[in-house]
């Protein structure tokens, strides 16, 4: 260790190992399970996705009122736009289900005891 200069630009392996042991956190699996449980309770959509959902719901409701009023504007929401909220909402759900990289990578960082 004494051969290291404080100015070294490379990590000090010995100090790094000692620090990882000193800061070791027990019960990694318990922690991961706890976070997974919170993720299940947490909303599947983020606030911007939620707002987007409200927008499309609002638009759908307005369209319905318009149609009911006899205005006949049945071209307000094209089919391709109507698909957008479902696609947006599915990002989080796909992530949670492990269909996209992210959730596992996220949680792997919690249980990792190795340096990157």
């Amino acid at each position: 260790m004494s051969e290291h200069s404080p100015f070294d630009s490379a990590p000090d392996a010995e100090l790094g190992t000692a620090l990882r042991e000193a800061l070791a956190m027990p019960f990694g699996e318990t922690f991961v399970n706890r976070v997974r449980a919170r993720m299940r309770q947490s909303p599947a959509r983020s606030w911007d996705e939620e707002l987007a959902g409200w927008f499309w719901q609002g638009l759908a409701a307005a369209s319905l009122v318009t149609v009911l009023a006899g205005w006949g504007l049945n071209t307000v929401a094209p089919a391709d736009e109507a698909d957008t909220p479902a696609q947006t909402a599915s990002v989080a759900s796909q992530l949670f289900e492990g269909q996209m990289p992210g959730a596992n990578v996220l949680l792997a960082s919690a249980s990792s005891t190795e340096s990157p």
Binding site: P6, D12, L19, L23, S46
Partner: protein
């Protein structure tokens, strides 16, 4: 590793787990805004660091933890257990005396292996400041390591 970094900030294992959990949940909620062209781990670690700092602001940090924190590695080698506890405690004590930014810089660089440029981006400080913080943090921690090793050799 996120939990270790949170622990380095909060100096309390329960608080560190709370902060790491909050960080993961924040990352989970913000995952749609993650730029896949950038490295994932520094992005996640920055969120965890922010969560730990937020928690630190909200809570008074409790006293140093007890002896239940012996690492699995030292449990495997009973002959070194006492020394490992001692080294771990002394390192934690030495870390606690460092300013938070120095502590984070040295833990992220030496223990977690992040590049100084990544740490600078994570902490929102210039790279030169990270180098300086690593330098000062290491000096104190290496002194502890040397002392303990000398005691082991006696």
């Amino acid at each position: 590793m996120a939990r270790r970094v949170a622990y380095a900030i909060l100096e309390d294992r329960e608080d560190a787990d709370d902060a790491a959990q909050e960080g993961f949940l924040s990352a989970w909620r913000a995952i749609a805004r993650y730029d896949s062209g950038k490295a994932f781990r520094p992005w996640l670690m920055q969120i965890v660091v922010n969560a730990a700092r937020d928690l630190r602001r909200r809570r008074r940090v409790r006293a140093a933890d007890s002896l239940d924190s012996v690492s699995p590695a030292s449990r495997d080698d009973p002959a070194r257990t006492a020394g490992a506890i001692d080294l771990g405690q002394r390192l934690r004590t030495a870390l606690a005396t460092l300013p938070e930014r120095q502590r984070l810089a040295v833990v992220l660089f030496d223990a977690e292996g992040y590049a100084q440029a990544e740490i600078a981006a994570m902490l929102g400080i210039p790279e030169g400041t990270v180098k300086s913080d690593v330098f000062h943090g290491r000096r104190a921690l290496r002194r502890v390591l040397s002392t303990v090793k000398e005691e082991w050799d006696e």
